[in-house]
C-alpha cells in the first residue's frame, strides 16, 4: 500500500511539475480570442440542440469510412496492377499471334508455290513422254489467213490411234465457245473431240483410225456435227 501511495505521489508530482511548466511558459493569447471561442461554443451547442442525432452518428461512421477508404485504395492498387499485367499479356499474345500468322501465311504461300511447280513439272514430263514416244506422230497445224499467229500440234499415237492436242498457242476461247478438233479422212471432216485447257497434251481427245489432215475450228460449247469453216483457226497435213 505504501508503495502504491509512493507511485501515486510521484505521479501527482510529475503532473504538478508539468503544470507548473505550462504556467511558467504561458503566452498571452490575442485579446479577441476569448469572444471567438465563446461564440464557437455557443454555435456548437446550437447545432447540438438542433441535430442531436447527427452529432451522435458522425463519430460512429468515421472509422468505418476510414477502413473503407483504405480497402478501396488497396483494391485500386491491386486492380491497377492487374490491368497492367493483363495489358502486357495481351500485347505479348498479339505479338506472338501476329508472328505465328505471318509464319502460317508464308507456309501456305510456299505450299501453293510448290503445288503449282509440281503441276508444271508433271505437265512437262507428260509432254516429254509424248515427244520421246517413238510411236507418236506429231502433226503441226498452222494458222490460216485470218489467224496467222495461231498454231497447234496434234499428237497421234500410231499404235493406239489416240489423238492428243497441244493448243497452248491458240487465243483463249471466248465465253460459251470451244475449240473442236477435226480429222480429215478421205476428204471428209470427222469430229476428233472438244478441246479444253485441262486436256492439253494430256487427255485423249478421240480415237482416229484414219486421217490425212487435222484442223481446229471454234464452235459453240458442246461441239458441232459439221465444222464452221469461217471459224477455222489452224490446219495441217500429215
Amino acid at each position: 500500500m505504501k508503495n502504491n501511495a509512493d507511485v501515486r505521489a510521484a505521479f501527482e508530482e510529475a503532473q504538478k511539475t508539468l503544470e507548473d511548466l505550462a504556467t511558467a511558459q504561458a503566452v498571452t493569447p490575442p485579446s479577441d480570442l476569448k469572444s471567438k471561442i465563446w461564440n464557437k461554443i455557443q454555435q456548437e451547442q446550437l447545432v447540438d440542440n438542433v441535430q442531436p442525432i447527427a452529432s451522435v452518428d458522425i463519430p460512429a461512421a468515421k472509422p468505418q469510412e476510414e477502413i473503407r477508404i483504405q480497402g478501396n485504395s488497396n483494391w485500386k492498387l491491386l486492380s491497377a496492377a492487374a490491368s497492367i499485367l493483363l495489358l502486357l499479356s495481351l500485347a505479348g499474345n498479339a505479338f506472338w499471334m501476329n508472328d505465328q500468322s505471318k509464319t502460317k501465311q508464308e507456309i501456305t504461300k510456299l505450299q501453293t508455290e510448290k503445288e503449282s511447280q509440281s503441276l508444271a513439272i508433271q505437265k512437262l514430263s507428260q509432254k516429254m513422254e509424248m515427244f520421246s514416244n517413238p510411236d507418236m506422230l506429231m502433226v503441226s497445224l498452222k494458222g490460216v489467213e485470218k489467224h496467222p499467229d495461231s498454231k497447234a500440234i496434234v499428237f497421234w499415237d500410231k499404235k493406239t490411234k489416240n489423238v492428243y492436242l497441244n493448243a497452248e498457242h491458240l487465243p483463249k476461247a471466248p465465253e460459251g465457245m470451244e475449240y473442236q478438233l477435226w480429222a480429215i479422212s478421205d476428204g471428209k471432216p470427222v469430229s476428233a473431240g472438244m478441246y479444253s485447257e485441262d486436256k492439253d497434251s494430256k487427255i485423249v481427245l478421240s480415237n482416229i483410225p484414219n486421217a490425212q489432215a487435222f484442223a481446229i475450228t471454234l464452235e459453240k460449247r458442246g461441239g458441232s456435227p459439221v465444222p464452221t469453216m469461217e471459224n477455222m483457226f489452224v490446219i495441217g497435213n500429215i
Binding site: 503544470e19 493569447p29 465563446w38 461554443i41
Partner: protein, 169 residues
C-alpha cells in the same frame, strides 16, 4: 463550471488560456495555427467536461493533455500536411533560413523557454514526452536506450525541472 454557464467559461479561459496557448504554440510553432487549435481545444474541454474524472488525474493536467493531443493531431492532419506541401516553392528554395527566422522572431519573441536551462538530454526527453507526445516506450526505441534508463532519466529531468520552476514562482 460543470453547469456550462458563461461565468464558468470566463473562469476557465481567464485561468488557463495563457498556459494552453503556450503549450500549443510550442507544438505547432505558429500563432496562426495556434489560434485554430486553441479554439478546438476549448470547445472540446467545454463539451467533454462531464467526462473529466478526478480520480484519474488533475484537472489542469487533463486540459493540458487535451491541448497537447489536439495540437499533435492537428500537425498530423491531412489538411495541415497539404498546406505544408502547398507552400509556394520559391519560399523554400530561396528563403528557407530567412523564413524560419522570421517565424521565430514574430511568433517566439519574448517566449520564456524554461527548458533551455536544462541539460540537452533532459531537454530532449521532456520535449519528446511533453510536446511531441511520445510514450516512454517510443522514446526508448527512438533514442535506442533501455526503457528503464528512459524512466530514470525522465524522473531526474522532472526533478531538475521542478527545481528550476521554483525560481519562476
Amino acid at each position: 463550471m460543470k453547469n456550462k454557464d458563461e461565468n464558468g467559461f470566463h473562469h476557465l479561459y481567464d485561468n488557463y488560456s495563457g498556459a494552453l496557448y503556450g503549450v500549443i504554440l510550442r507544438i505547432v510553432c505558429s500563432k496562426e495555427y495556434t489560434e485554430d487549435v486553441i479554439q478546438d481545444v476549448f470547445v472540446k474541454i467545454w463539451n467533454s467536461i462531464h467526462q473529466y474524472d478526478v480520480s484519474k488525474g488533475r484537472f489542469y493536467t487533463w486540459m493540458i493533455n487535451i491541448a497537447r493531443n489536439t495540437a499533435i493531431d492537428y500537425l498530423k492532419s491531412k489538411g495541415f500536411q497539404n498546406e505544408l506541401k502547398n507552400q509556394p516553392l520559391p519560399d523554400f528554395v530561396y528563403n528557407t533560413a530567412e523564413l524560419s527566422t522570421t517565424n521565430e522572431e514574430s511568433d517566439f519573441i519574448g517566449l520564456k523557454n524554461v527548458l533551455e536551462s536544462l541539460e540537452a538530454d533532459k531537454q530532449e526527453l521532456i520535449n519528446m514526452a511533453y510536446y511531441q507526445g511520445f510514450t516512454q516506450n517510443e522514446i526508448s526505441e527512438k533514442l535506442k536506450i533501455p526503457l528503464g534508463t528512459v524512466k530514470t532519466k525522465m524522473r531526474n529531468a522532472l526533478m531538475k525541472l521542478k527545481d528550476l520552476l521554483k525560481d519562476y514562482q
